[in-house]
């Protein structure tokens, strides 16, 4: 199992905490991963380190704004990130891990619907999960790269609430930006 190479110090990462989602599902997560959600980290900010493990196993942290499907994805992404307590690997191991992570990321993004991606971003923002926020935002940015305004509207289901003459004026002002854009 790859777990042993990812967590060479089993004693410090065996502490687990339980997270409860908006639809009342419980997720048991290792401390190292849960601490990447800074909102969760804040819960334990006041406690001393020695108490965290004890507290972690008994406390259930409610996350009323996060759905279970979304949290599951965020946790599995968090697990794939380099752990802060891991021993530094040599160059080769790092490269293989990076490649694995890239493959995982690509697989993840391929099957994601736009609505799901937006929910993931909201949840990552709520949890203050910096790496997740960065990754999913970048994925979304990459997706709308070079796409037209109409595409964005359709893709996200956004209503165009511009008055027609206002929109004309706006396009004129930024005509240099929009001239000759391909339709997707």
């Amino acid at each position: 199992m790859s777990n042993t190479s990812e967590n060479p110090k089993p004693s410090s990462s065996s502490a687990k905490m339980t997270l409860k989602t908006s639809d009342n599902e419980l997720f048991e997560v290792e401390e190292a991963v849960a601490m990447k959600f800074c909102t969760v980290k804040q819960y334990f900010e006041d406690e001393k380190d020695s108490d965290v493990a004890a507290r972690g196993s008994t406390t259930v942290i409610p996350l009323p704004n996060v759905h279970s499907a979304v949290l599951a994805t965020l946790i599995s992404y968090g697990k794939k990130l380099p752990q802060s307590n891991a021993v530094a690997d040599n160059h080769e191991e790092e490269e293989t891990k990076k490649k694995e992570r890239k493959k995982y990321e690509q697989g993840l993004l391929k099957n994601l619907m736009p609505g799901e991606l937006l929910d993931l971003i909201s949840a990552a923002n709520y949890l203050d999960f910096k790496e997740g926020l960065e990754f999913f935002n970048q994925a979304l940015a990459d997706h709308i790269q070079n796409k037209s305004v109409e595409y964005v509207r359709k893709f996200f289901g956004i209503k165009n609430d511009y008055e027609p003459h206002e929109e004309e004026k706006y396009r004129e002002e930024y005509a240099w930006a929009f001239e000759g854009v391909d339709e997707d």
């Binding site: 929910d119 971003i121 909201s122 923002n125 935002n137 070079n146 956004i158 609430d161 930024y174 930006a177």
Partner: protein, 336 residues
């Protein structure tokens, strides 16, 4: 992230009503087919978070989508502190437009990335730099309208005021010579004496086209991208070698002097024969062996050009562009 919280605060009032409706909508719709069944409505809150990750063109496109996004884009100074101009805007960006865009930062511009913006001139750059003394990343690759003197002038201006310039990219600008590079380095050196040749990330050939500037918070490349090639003494991009045995760095040179493999970035040892590829790029023997080959001529495409493969419906594998043309011509001849 600070940016997202500021934007969220501004939007909260507008979003309170629409937000609950929308989040319940997206929960339901993620279980169904998303696209056709949802009525168009106000934008999801996450779209406001994404704005910070968009280069200039996409930012402007988003601002035209609806009124609330337009307000978000134009009223948030934080979005204008990191300007990234790439395709399709790069060829259209003039000095005047650049001035207009950068003025939205109210003098606090931090990052300016202009990729292949041919129309930008030294004077245009100078105006921007004079008004935004806090720029810490200035990327001007392939801005062929600039001259080395213009770059020097800009770097000088930035180092006079606040010394905030940390990272500079200028490869692709014509006629940079060793003297120019030395002058630029001296301005960098004024700030941090030890950092002259220090780079935190090795520069790898096969990564040269990836949009690294976006991820630079985690892997900052401080300093200047170009260097003097140890073999030809010209100023150009000089690459590090990922091959373990090249630690002695004798192959640290420009791409013309030491060819590198497009897939793995390793230097191609002179004794190895350069194998032919369908796209004309260089590959080392190992990578050449691993890539799929054209059914006719047995040459591979590198990953960059993989979309040139023509798939034949009847068989596995692909046919390269050149063979495909011949194949089609042959078919045509058969019917004549």
């Amino acid at each position: 992230m600070e940016i997202s919280h500021v934007v969220e605060d501004n939007r909260n009032e507008n979003m309170q009503n629409s937000q609950t409706l929308l989040s319940s909508k997206s929960c339901v719709s993620s279980q169904n087919e998303y696209t056709q069944e949802v009525e168009p409505g106000p934008p999801h809150e996450s779209l406001f978070l994404v704005l910070a990750y968009l280069p200039l063109f996409e930012l402007l496109a988003m601002s035209e989508v609806c009124m609330s996004l337009r307000d978000a884009v134009h009223n948030d100074v934080l979005l204008w502190l990191n300007i990234i101009v790439e395709r399709p805007l790069s060829l259209r960006l003039s000095d005047e437009i650049l001035m207009k865009i950068t003025s939205k930062a109210s003098g606090r511009l931090k990052t300016l990335v202009l990729i292949n913006c041919e129309k930008i001139t030294d004077d245009g750059l100078q105006l921007v730099v004079r008004k935004n003394a806090h720029i810490n990343k200035l990327f001007l690759p392939e801005c062929t309208g600039l001259t080395p003197e213009g770059v020097i002038r800009a770097v000088k201006t930035l180092s006079e005021n606040h010394h905030s310039l940390k990272s500079l990219r200028i490869h692709g600008i014509y006629n940079i010579k060793k003297d120019h590079l030395d002058t630029i380095r001296s301005y960098f050196q004024m700030k941090l004496p030890q950092q002259e040749h220090q780079r935190q990330q090795p520069i790898l050939f096969h990564h040269r086209n990836s949009p690294e500037f976006r991820n630079e918070e985690s892997n900052p490349m401080i300093g200047i991208d170009v260097d003097i090639c140890s073999k030809c003494n010209n100023v150009s991009m000089v690459y590090d070698c990922p091959r373990e045995t090249c630690k002695k760095k004798s192959c640290k040179a420009c791409n013309l002097c030491i060819p590198r493999c497009e897939e793995c970035g390793e230097c191609i040892i002179e004794s190895e024969e350069l194998e032919a590829t369908a796209c004309g790029d260089n590959l080392c023997s190992n990578c050449w062996l691993q890539l799929p080959k054209c059914n006719f001529c047995n040459q591979p495409y590198c990953k960059l050009h993989i979309n040139h493969q023509h798939r034949l419906s009847s068989s596995n594998g692909f046919v390269c562009d050149a063979c495909h043309v011949k194949f089609v011509a042959m078919l045509g001849a058969c019917y004549c």
